[in-house]
Symmetry: C2
Subunit: 355 residues, 2 copies
């Protein structure tokens, strides 16, 4: 830090993404990436677009991508926003919908970027404590607030709530925005997209990084009523006219067009997940019910810290959050069947040596 830093920069504690050590090859089960490649149609479309046109700015409004996503979800183009990963969309949403003087609500165990955004934009917040089994006590959202945000499924627990519960939250908060972060929705939860026509206070945020195998392309999106999307555009156009490059715009649109590929690859993840959950329970792990592409697990006799460390030594990376309430849990992304077989065998050995 130097005297040139703003007070803001000096006050921040940034988000720390999952580690990416470069010392050797790891089985990476720590950042919820998809083990399957993106649709071949996506990579082919990008290769074709890598041409002379890169000298020109992208369409600042990204009409083609907006229209493609709108068509996919049965919405209007004006109900779609996109950004540089769902993280950018989340950051813009904090600016577009939350005010510093009205505390927002989000769960105590949740995506750890929310408190970082709150600090950055000076938005005060109150934490909703999850139940002991990590389920969401939705009635805790029925109180005075300046806006609500939570992931569904929740991260890093994988727990999901139903559309009926979401409607209850929306109905109890008609004067506040309710932002549902659906980063992991395609792995078994039910999307709230169908509620957009019914609720003007609902904003949904999604990403192409998980279920569409495109973490490396950096595309996230928001869906909601036109008036909400306009607020996001106002923020975006006050920061950066063109947040997606030409290649990401084209690749993202093609990902939505190849629905068959999407359906097949997300189903593969779900099948592997269910198998992994069964195997983990057999060797004594507590596994939080998951509708996402990861499992959140804890062992009664071997600590999460030990398992994390031993797995890392065996070249398997999982995510270990040293945080209150979850410091004896590990978040394990669902990789390919082959990767998960290696993981299961290794973790079985670790656990049996210690018990």
């Amino acid at each position: 830090m130097s005297k040139y830093w703003s007070k803001l920069a000096a006050s921040l504690e940034p988000y720390v993404p999952g580690e990416q050590p470069k010392d050797r090859k790891y089985i990476k089960l720590n950042t919820n990436e998809n083990p399957y490649p993106p649709s071949p149609r996506v990579t082919e479309a990008i290769r074709k677009a890598a041409n002379e046109s890169l000298k020109l700015y992208p369409d600042p409004n990204g009409d083609e991508l907006r229209t493609t996503i709108a068509t996919y979800y049965g919405l209007k183009k004006e109900q779609v926003f996109f950004g540089n990963g769902s993280d950018e969309v989340l950051a813009f949403s904090f600016m577009a919908f939350f005010d510093p003087d009205r505390p927002i609500l989000f769960p105590d165990v949740t995506y750890s970027f929310y408190p970082v955004y709150a600090e950055l934009f000076k938005i005060s917040y109150k934490l909703i404590n999850l139940n002991d089994d990590f389920t969401l006590p939705i009635e805790q959202f029925f109180r005075e607030n300046g806006g609500i945000i939570f992931p569904n499924p929740n991260a890093p627990t994988g727990n999901v709530i139903s559309l009926e519960e979401i409607e209850e939250i929306l109905l109890h908060n008609q004067d506040q925005i309710v932002i549902i972060d659906e980063a992991y929705i395609d792995f078994g939860g039910e999307s709230a997209v169908k509620l957009i026509d019914k609720y003007s206070n609902l904003l949904i945020i999604q990403t192409l990084s998980k279920s569409r195998c495109l973490a490396g392309l950096r595309v996230g999106l928001a869906l909601g009523r036109e008036e909400l999307i306009k607020a996001l555009d106002t923020i975006k156009n006050s920061i950066n006219s063109y947040t997606l490059d030409r290649l990401a715009l084209i690749g993202a649109a093609e990902a939505f067009r190849d629905d068959q590929y999407f359906q097949t690859s997300r189903e593969k993840i779900i099948i592997t997940r269910e198998k992994v959950i069964g195997e983990l329970r057999k060797i004594g792990f507590k596994v939080i019910p998951s509708k996402s592409n990861f499992v959140f697990i804890s062992h009664p006799s071997v600590t999460a810290g030990e398992i994390y460390q031993e797995l890392k030594e065996k070249s398997i990376l999982v995510r270990y959050f040293k945080k209150p309430r979850i410091d004896n849990y590990l978040r394990v992304s669902i990789g390919s069947n082959e990767e998960m077989d290696v993981f299961l065998e290794t973790v079985k050995r670790i656990v049996s040596q210690r018990t």
Copy 2:
């Protein structure tokens, strides 16, 4: 606007980028894009990178790109930051270095995104009035301030200041940061990069959108002392861990490696610019001396508004800012020789019809 908008969103007047009408094909001289394609090595590298690896997150730190840029400029990797276009880098810089209660300084005629960032981040500012010939009265920066930012060459005028003048500004502001926005530096100005070792208060921002023919890839960068770069990383890591996708990271690095292509294409622009300036002066235009890839022009007897409109009808787009002091000027990007011939012929006809 709806009741769900934050006070911030409701208060903003976003930046408006150059128009991109889709009704027909235009000669686009309105957004300072480069008429030449990017280096073939860049497009080839991107095509190769459009593969299975897109399922994985990019390197959040972008070490390879940082190292490549550092090597190019004779700096250390820790002295390089990059972002999603220089606009994002500028936005992050406003957050990283400016405080709301200490007014910053920038010229009254300058890049119109600066006041937008100031509004967004609640940074107060004082305008430095350019001289009548649009040159920068540098002694106006020798006063109490919370930081300084200006483009060199300035936009939309094209005027440049010398390294000696920059050093004077730096010396008079040793307790404040001085940010030099070098978006157009490669077209004839002298970069302040060589001053980084000498001044701890100097931050330089550049872009690959102009001189490196990559407006469609969205890559900007900042160069400065390690402590300044750390502040930018702190902001970035509080918003979005990965601001460049895998393709942009690889394409940008290759653009710096192919220096010969870069040198050739920027020289072509400079030669065309000088020719265009000569021709415009012949038909009575006042042309501000330009060291950028655009010219800022005014005609004594035909208004800028009229010329803009007639050019547009003839399928030529130039930029017309309806703003105080410059509402009788047009900013014309330097296109290819062929494009500029059409522009010159058309503008000659417009002017001769009216005089």
